[in-house]
């Protein structure tokens, strides 16, 4: 499993923050794109699904939790990491219960984010693998 061969979408309405993060992650050879709202994120994923989404919690329009719900509904296998400048315990736990992989607080260490992305992707890859195996198992059983 190639650790870094996966795609990431960053969603954050703070343009400056997003651009810096995109730049820094690309320097680490990550296949990463960025959009500015929950609505844009969903549209992006329809056209081009990714492995991991990094989602700002507080955005105008669709907020982070709504977007998370929508992503998990349409793309249940995509792993989502929540990111926030406003530590809020209730929101954090709600996000985790909705299936977020983790909840990180700004400012975060870029390496820490990178590790989280790798862990999230690995979880997704293993998950997909197991689904594939059990489907094959079922098919074999039928034969």
């Amino acid at each position: 499993m190639l650790v870094d061969a996966f795609s990431v979408l960053l969603v954050d309405d703070e343009v400056e923050f997003l651009d810096t993060l995109l730049k820094r992650l690309r320097k680490r050879n990550l296949n990463v794109s960025g959009v500015h709202s929950g609505e844009q994120a969903l549209a992006f994923l329809q056209a081009q699904p990714v492995d991991v989404v990094v989602l700002d919690v507080k955005m105008p329009g669709m907020d982070g939790l709504e977007t998370l719900r929508a992503i998990k509904k349409s793309f249940p296998l995509i792993e989502v990491i929540m990111l926030t400048g406003h530590a809020n315990m209730e929101v954090a736990i709600e996000g985790m219960e909705l299936g977020a992989f983790d909840y990180l607080m700004k400012p975060m260490d870029i390496d820490e984010l990178l590790y989280k992305l790798q862990d999230a992707y690995k979880k997704k890859a293993l998950h997909e693998r197991r689904i594939q195996d059990s489907v094959e198992g079922v098919l074999r059983g039928k034969r």
Partner: protein
């Protein structure tokens, strides 16, 4: 997951020894997924423990902290414990359901304690001062409530004016959603450096100043000003003073933390209002709140606007000596012009002391008239300016005796009225009439009974460097001098240094939480810097002539504030007489109380003994309990899963080695170089980085058998063994009976039982330094309790020397090391491997101190011979650096 476990169960129940290639592959994938969950659990476990120790540190008072620290850490610890619970459920689906329920309860409890009820507030934007009294402190701030009280109840002269209320402040903040944005910026700076804090403070203030005032607030202020004009004439100028809610309570004097504007014209009132509100986030005010644990959001800035008094003279009265709780004399500091220069300490001021006779002022007992070369006066249009004082007038007293006695009378009266000593700011107007500008409780300090006398043969006499005029804050302290001249010098101010400045400017107050002592050339003991120094218990001497020229940065000084003397070097005879009594200023503060309350749900550990029947998910009462419970259970789950099924690749194998002990190995993921079909595995096939390092230490120096034992030692072992069946080496659980390694390439968990001794080592060593850790538990052992305790201390003590964090609970030692590069972690694992083999029966010989020391030095010698001394030493140095860095970070 449940679908998968069904498949797995099906495979297991077949008890088939042969799996098809596809099935084996699928099973391998299942193991991989399981191991990944386990790893995620461990990483969340580590993170949770790290945050808990940060919270514990804050509880001990190792750092000042604000609500953003609390919110961020409580959220982070909850998220990580939730991740632990989720991954535990992945490892054992449905088995520990109670955990979710327990977690939810605890988390809701924490949240309830964290989010406090908001105070109800009024609905009036601006109050005329004539309608204000002290019952309105929650709407106009205590400072303006007091001034209103002086006028409306005591009929003392105060300038007419109005107060912009806390409701107006909240309207202003809500209109622009300012609090949210400020909290975000504060959270972002949690790890900030000092220079970043300067710019953060400037940014937040800019944010506030640029924000729009709601229209109704604007109108209310301008209407109030128009009313004042009707009373005082057109173009009346005002002084504008902050009057924050929560300010000026007796134990937290915010004296002068915030901005005041003098002589403001009507065009600029709105701008000045925003600037004063913004000064809530001046660096010194923000640092002060942080170090005193005052809730940022609970401080609402009200602003008092009073018709400007063009003062002939002005100053501050203390109704008692602030430096000595036993001295009830009235102390008056006074200058020509506006009282501003007394408060900010920029000009030498006259000092008068009036004695007391019962409840009346007695007579003037001290007149200390200074040469006051400059004064502050109002410009005709707006603002104030510094003016030279004509020479002969500079040396004259700035008050008449009559005025001094009148001020003393007012001070005694106010003290009696409020029931506590008072700090009063006043001005004398052009007609010679006294007008009161401010009044607040005075903080007095203990003062010291004993004065140190410098006798002829005292070493201190030789070291005497300088002598000051005034004790601004009592005490003795030593440290390297640091001379501050420019604002930017503050960035470089080292912890524990002696602050040396020309003037006692309020801006230096931001450094006091880090300063050992303060020396200034000029300044008033009634000024802001002196107030804060007293509150922080930092010794301060003012009026030390030429201090900034005669003292060089870096030179170690001893400051004895009580005798106002400054000595070269550390004068131990002086320092020895003072108890180090730097207060934990956070304790008892609102923020500290919240931390204490929430930490009760986070920190205490109730589930201590995994063998106890109480060790159950539903008995978890804190986040620490859940963390501990899951860690224990996850290891067990990983172990039994590997043991119980019939997938030979993952069954336990015995290690082929020369040591006459059984070592069993379970490969969790990628711990073997290639698959091992049989029952044995060779060391050459092990790829686990931490296990190999540990093994190197285990085998480095052959164990020479038990050390020679004196008879008492041997008897003690026998007695203990026969008296305590739990020490029987044949434990019921297989897990505990042999030496078991669970490994992957980057992970290893060893649980071993050597005769009477039980230890575990757990380590993650990979490419992510911030996730690397080694933890070590050492427990049990034959011999009597006293010896076992000594052995635990010996082990903990050695590990601490090598950079571990170690603690001893009863006869068990626990140690942890984390966050280093692979190379460093490996050397420490070697060291642990060695200890594992060689300390196990030391307690037999530890009956006396001589053998204790002897064994300790042998162990040290061995360790140095088997590890890379450069790395081990570097690790210790890193540890220290890291500690120092954390401390510094904490202070910010």
């Amino acid at each position: 997951m449940s679908a998968l476990s069904r498949v797995l169960r099906k495979w297991f129940s077949r008890k088939s020894k042969e799996l098809s290639a596809a099935e084996a592959e699928a099973l391998r994938a299942a193991f991989k997924a399981r191991y990944h969950s386990f790893k995620l659990l461990l990483s969340a476990n580590n993170k949770a423990l790290e945050i808990m120790s940060r919270i514990e540190g804050a509880l001990r008072g190792d750092r000042p902290f604000g609500m953003s620290f609390l919110r961020a850490n409580c959220t982070a610890v909850s998220v990580n414990v939730f991740r632990i619970v989720q991954n535990m459920d992945q490892l054992a689906p449905g088995k520990y359901k109670d955990l979710f329920d327990r977690f939810q309860h605890i988390q809701e409890d924490i949240n309830a304690r964290l989010t406090r009820r908001k105070e109800p507030r009024g609905e009036v934007l601006v109050f005329p001062l004539s309608q204000v009294d002290k019952t309105m402190a929650d709407q106009v701030g205590s400072k303006m409530a007091n001034i209103g009280e002086l006028h409306s109840r005591l009929h003392l002269p105060v300038p007419p004016g109005f107060v912009i209320s806390s409701y107006a402040y909240h309207r202003f903040f809500e209109h622009n959603d300012l609090q949210m944005e400020i909290n975000r910026r504060l959270q972002a700076s949690e790890k900030g450096e000092l220079d970043q804090l300067y710019s953060l403070s400037a940014d937040i203030q800019q944010l506030i100043i640029r924000a729009q005032l709601p229209e109704d607030v604007e109108r209310a202020i301008m209407d109030a000003h128009a009313d004042l004009e009707k009373q005082m004439g057109r173009n009346v100028k005002v002084s504008m003073r902050s009057s924050a809610l929560g300010e000026d309570s007796a134990s937290t004097s915010f004296a002068g933390q915030y901005r005041s504007e003098l002589n403001v014209s009507s065009e600029n009132i709105l701008q000045a209002y925003k600037e004063i509100v913004a000064s809530k986030y001046s660096l010194q005010a923000a640092m002060y709140r942080l170090t005193r644990g005052i809730l940022d959001e609970e401080i609402a800035m009200c602003v008092g606007c009073m018709a400007m008094v063009n003062a002939k003279s002005g100053g501050v009265t203390y109704s008692r000596n602030p430096l000595n709780i036993r001295d009830d004399s009235i102390c008056i500091s006074s200058v020509w012009g506006l009282p501003k220069s007394v408060v900010d300490g920029s000009v030498a001021s006259d000092y008068f002391v009036v004695s007391r006779k019962g409840n009346q002022p007695g007579e003037i007992v001290r007149r200390d008239v200074k040469n006051k070369t400059v004064k502050f006066v109002c410009y005709p249009d707006e603002g104030v300016c510094r003016m030279d004082v004509m020479e002969e007038k500079g040396g004259e007293p700035s008050l008449t005796d009559e005025q001094i006695l009148e001020l003393a009378r007012i001070a005694v009266m106010l003290e009696e009225y409020y029931g506590t000593p008072q700090d009063i700011e006043w001005a004398v107007d052009e007609e010679g009439k006294i007008v009161l500008l401010q009044c607040r409780p005075l903080t007095q300090t203990e003062g010291r009974q004993t004065e140190f006398v410098c006798t002829e043969d005292d070493v201190a006499c030789d070291a005497l460097l300088l002598q000051g005029d005034a004790t601004a804050s009592s005490g003795v302290a030593a440290g390297p001098a640091f001379v501050v001249r420019r604002n930017s010098d503050a960035l470089l101010f080292p912890d524990g240094a002696v602050l040396v400045a020309a003037q006692a400017l309020p801006r230096w107050a931001a450094l006091l939480s880090r300063a050992a002592a303060v020396i200034t050339e000029q300044g008033s003991v009634a000024g802001h810097l002196a107030n804060v120094a007293r509150e922080f218990g930092v010794p301060a001497v003012f009026g030390v002539q030429m201090a900034t020229e005669k003292i060089e940065s870096g030179v170690v000084l001893t400051v004895d504030a009580d005798t106002r003397r400054i000595y070269r070097g550390r004068v131990e005879s002086l320092l020895a007489k003072v108890q180090p009594s730097r207060k934990n200023l956070m304790e008892g503060s609102p923020v500290y109380e919240i931390l204490r309350e929430v930490s009760e749900l986070i920190i205490p550990l109730h589930l201590l003994d995994p063998d106890s029947t109480e060790f159950k998910a539903r008995n978890c009462r804190t986040l620490h309990d859940i963390t501990r419970f899951c860690h224990e259970k996850s290891l067990k789950e990983m172990f039994s899963f590997g043991k119980e099924h019939h997938f030979s690749e993952r069954a336990s194998k015995q290690l082929v080695c020369d040591i006459p002990m059984q070592w069993w190995i379970i490969n969790l993921d990628d711990g073997f170089r290639e698959d091992v079909p049989g029952k044995f595995v060779h060391l050459s096939n092990i790829s686990s980085v931490p296990m190999l390092a540990l093994w190197e230490g285990i085998t480095a120096i052959p164990w020479s058998g038990p050390p020679p034992v004196d008879t008492r030692g041997f008897m003690s072992v026998l007695l203990e063994a026969s008296a305590n069946p739990a020490l029987d080496p044949s434990m019921p659980s297989e897990y505990a009976n042999k030496n078991y390694f669970m490994i992957s390439k980057n992970f290893c968990s060893l649980s071993s039982r050597f005769g009477f001794h039980f230890c575990t080592v757990e380590a993650l060593v990979g490419e992510r330094p911030n996730e690397n850790y080694v933890s070590f538990n050492f427990k049990g052992g034959a011999a009597d309790y006293g010896r076992r305790v000594r052995r635990a201390h010996l082990v903990a003590n050695i590990l601490e020397e090598f950079g571990f964090r170690a603690e001893v609970k009863e006869d068990a030692a626990f140690a942890r090391l984390e966050g280093f590069e692979e190379g460093v972690m490996k050397e420490h694992l070697k060291l642990l491997g060695y200890l594992l083999m060689h300390t196990r029966q030391l307690d037999m010989v530890m009956s006396n101190d001589a053998s204790f020391a002897q064994h300790r030095s042998k162990i040290f010698k061995d360790i140095c011979s088997i590890t890379d001394p450069a790395i081990i030493r570097i690790a210790c140095a890193y540890g220290e650096l890291e500690g120092a860095a954390n401390e510094l970070r904490g202070l910010l």
